[in-house]
Symmetry: C2
Subunit: 136 residues, 2 copies
Amino acid sequence: MRIGELAERAGTTTRTLRYYESRGLLPARRAENGYRSYDEGDLRLLQQIRTLQDFGFDLEETRPFVDCLRAGHPAGDSCPASLAVYRYKLAELDALIGRLTSVRAEVGAQLARAELEASADLPGGPAPRCELGGQP
Amino acid sequence: MRIGELAERAGTTTRTLRYYESRGLLPARRAENGYRSYDEGDLRLLQQIRTLQDFGFDLEETRPFVDCLRAGHPAGDSCPASLAVYRYKLAELDALIGRLTSVRAEVGAQLARAELEASADLPGGPAPRCELGGQP
DNA sequence: GTATTCCTTGACGCCGACGTCAACGCAAGG
DNA sequence: CCTTGCGTTGACGTCGGCGTCAAGGAATAC
């Protein structure tokens, strides 16, 4: 199959495939007329790349999976190098999620505080101050 | 104060300050010799920007806070536009954290599965299969 | 005077994963 | 023959937030 068909079947673009080839990730055989020629195996490699990309893996990080598949293994993650990337990625995700979660808490707190102060300034007077048994 | 001092006091670089000015975010007065001149108020503005940047806000998203401070309000988030950015950012953070969390779960599951399959292939035979009361 | 350190503007570099355009070749249908 | 629609390579553009020179002026120390 040619580049356009592969791109369409994988839900990507020809530009992307040429880019992968330029990175040495997905080299293509060539037909007599110079056209790139792909088979079903290439589609599988490409699907592996795309899946990991969707997970947010860097392109380089997909390489062990692709190599693993091309080495004849049943799955891209059947090789130790792939597992290492999984583990690294998990640690990275945990760190990122942790940071974002604490940022979310901070921002949420700031918003709550700012909203309080705003509602305390707007109406007629310092605030309703609710009906607490304080200083009358 | 001049640009170097402001940068140092804010823990950033002169390049960053010039960049902010080029974006119209933190314009500077000029001394007679052409040097940029800042005061304590500018430091406050800059600190506001840096805080939000550390939270992951885009530079443009800090603009309402800076404008708010410059308008004389006690805090950068004392204005409705700032609160709107807070809310937008919270939604964005929630969406991102959600995506990352589901990706983390996916990757974790893939790792577990791949590790299982690896350990089932390596040793002498299909697996130890533990000592369960099964088919002897 | 001169050495040092600050300041000025301008402009290119970087990063990743492509998008987009240019200018061309090749194959097939009418 | 001509058009249409694939393919080819090459090269520049994108985005954000600066880093990193380069070439020069200004203020201070000695």
